[in-house]
C-alpha cells in the first residue's frame, strides 16, 4: 500500500476549454489556503507560464513559498530515458562500444508509444521530487495523448504479466536441464526476469496512484458546446474503463445558454461545477486572484478539501 504522499489532480478536456486556467486557479487557491502546491504542465505546447504571465527561460518557477510552477519538457525526459537505455546497452554489449550507439538510439524517440512513456517517466520523477507537496496539479496535454498516458500503465501491465509467466517457464525448463546434466545452475537471478519485475512494480505503483482516491483524481473541463461535451463523454468512458477516479466535471465559461439540469443529467452522480464566463481573459496573477474569490469557485475548492 502506498503511503499518502499528497494528492495529484489532473485536468483533462478538449483543447480551448480552459484546462490550464482552471488548473492555475485551483493551484493559486489551494496555495492561498496554506497548502504546498506544485502545478505542472504536461502539454507539449505549453501555455501555463502565459496564464501566470511568467517570463522566464527556466522550466520551473517559484511563484510563492507555497506555489511552484513547472512546464515539463517531454523532449528532455525522452532524451534522458533513451540515454539511460543507451548506457545499459553499451555496458551489456561491450563489442558495440566502437559503434555510435547514440545515433541508433536517437531514432527511437520517434517510436510509437514513447511520447506517453516519456510523460509517465516525467510523472514518476515529479511524484518523487515533490513528494512532500500537499497537491500536485497536472495540466494535461490534448485528449489523445492524455488518454494514451492514462492507458499506458494498464496496457504495459498486461504485457508484463504475460512475459513474466513465459520467462518463468523458460527458467524452470533451464533448471531441469541443468539438473539432468548435474550442472550447478548459476544461482544469480535472471537479469531479464528481474527487469520485468522491476517494470511491473513501477507500473503497478503508477496504476495504484491513479486508482486511489486519496492519491489522485481527475477533473474533466468542458464548455457548453456540443463538441467539448462529446469529448468529455469519450474521456469519461476511458477513465472509467481504467477504474481511475473522476472527481467531477467543470463547466468553464458557462453562459447559461443551456439549463444546468440538462447538462448534469448526462452524469447525475458526478459532482458538477459551473464557472461563469469572465468579463476579460483571466491572464496574470492579479486577474487569477480576482476570479478565485467567486463563490462558485470557492465551493469547488472546498469540495477538493473534503478529499483530504
Amino acid at each position: 500500500m502506498i503511503k499518502n504522499e499528497g494528492i495529484n489532480l489532473f485536468f483533462l478536456g478538449k483543447g480551448g476549454t480552459g484546462k490550464t486556467t482552471i488548473a492555475a486557479l485551483t493551484a493559486i487557491s489551494l496555495a492561498e489556503k496554506g497548502f504546498k502546491v506544485g502545478i505542472f504542465s504536461m502539454d507539449p505546447a505549453h501555455n501555463l507560464f502565459d496564464v501566470f504571465q511568467i517570463n522566464s527561460s527556466k522550466s520551473t518557477v517559484k511563484l510563492s513559498d507555497k506555489l511552484i510552477c513547472e512546464e515539463i519538457d517531454i523532449k528532455f525526459w525522452l532524451k534522458s530515458y533513451l540515454k539511460s537505455v543507451e548506457q545499459k546497452i553499451a555496458r551489456s554489449y561491450q563489442y558495440l562500444t566502437s559503434l555510435s550507439l547514440e545515433k541508433h538510439i536517437e531514432i527511437l524517440r520517434y517510436s510509437p508509444g514513447l511520447e506517453e512513456y516519456a510523460l509517465q517517466y516525467a510523472f514518476e520523477a515529479i511524484i518523487k521530487k515533490y513528494k512532500k507537496y500537499d497537491f500536485r496539479i497536472f495540466d494535461m496535454p490534448p485528449t489523445a495523448l492524455a488518454l494514451r498516458f492514462f492507458n499506458l500503465p494498464a496496457l504495459t501491465g498486461i504485457w508484463l504479466d504475460q512475459l513474466i509467466e513465459l520467462r518463468k517457464e523458460i527458467l524452470e525448463k533451464k533448471k531441469i536441464i541443468s539438473e539432468v546434466y548435474q550442472r550447478h545452475p548459476n544461482k544469480s537471478n535472471d537479469n531479464i526476469l528481474n527487469q520485468l519485475y522491476e517494470m511491473k512494480d513501477r507500473t503497478d505503483r503508477v496504476i495504484q496512484i491513479f486508482q486511489i482516491k486519496l492519491l489522485s483524481g481527475i477533473y474533466i473541463v468542458e464548455n457548453e458546446d456540443v463538441l467539448s461535451m462529446a469529448e468529455t463523454h469519450d474521456i469519461y468512458q476511458t477513465i472509467l474503463k481504467n477504474k481511475f477516479i473522476v472527481l467531477g466535471i467543470l463547466v468553464n465559461k458557462y453562459q447559461n445558454l443551456t439549463d444546468v439540469d440538462v447538462i448534469t443529467s448526462k452524469y447525475p452522480n458526478l459532482p458538477w461545477n459551473f464557472f461563469p464566463m469572465a468579463q476579460n481573459p483571466i491572464i496574470g496573477q492579479e486577474k487569477l486572484n480576482d476570479y478565485i474569490t467567486h463563490q462558485t469557485f470557492q465551493n469547488y475548492i472546498n469540495s477538493i478539501l473534503t478529499i483530504t
Binding site: 533513451l82 537505455v85 545499459k88 546497452i89 555496458r91 551489456s92 554489449y93 527511437l108 517510436s111 510509437p112 508509444g113 514513447l114 512513456y117 499506458l152 496496457l155 504495459t156 504485457w159 508484463l160 504475460q162 512475459l163 513465459l166 520467462r167 517457464e169 523458460i170 525448463k173 533451464k174 531441469i176 536441464i177 539432468v180 546434466y181 537479469n191 531479464i192 527487469q195 520485468l196 517494470m199
Partner: protein, 93 residues
C-alpha cells in the same frame, strides 16, 4: 592391464550416461528454445514487423537480451532453410 580395462569401462559408462541424459532432455531443450524464441519475438517483434509490446518494455529489456537476439537470428536461418532447400532442388537441371 586391469587399470586400462577399468578406464575403458568408465569411459563407456560416461558415454552411455551422457547419451541417456542428452536423450532425456532433448525434447525439453527443444521446448525451451522454442519458448525463448517466442519470448524474443514478443519483445523484439516490432523490429521484425510483428505488432508487439510497448516500446518501453522492449527498450528496458534490450540491454539484457544478447543471447535471445542471437537465438532469434539462428532461428531465422533455420526457418529459411527448408524453402531455400526446396528451391535449390527445383533449380537442379
Amino acid at each position: 592391464m586391469l587399470k586400462k580395462v577399468l578406464n575403458s569401462l568408465r569411459s563407456i559408462k560416461n558415454i552411455l550416461t551422457g547419451s541417456a541424459r542428452s536423450q532425456a532432455v532433448d525434447i525439453l531443450e527443444w521446448e525451451k528454445t522454442e519458448l525463448e524464441n517466442i519470448f524474443s519475438l514478443l519483445v523484439l517483434g516490432s523490429f521484425v514487423g510483428i505488432p508487439a509490446t510497448p516500446t518501453s518494455i522492449t527498450l528496458n529489456l534490450l540491454p539484457y537480451m544478447e543471447n535471445e537476439i542471437q537465438l532469434m537470428m539462428d532461428k531465422v536461418e533455420t526457418a529459411s532453410g527448408p524453402i531455400s532447400d526446396l528451391f535449390s532442388h527445383l533449380d537442379t537441371p
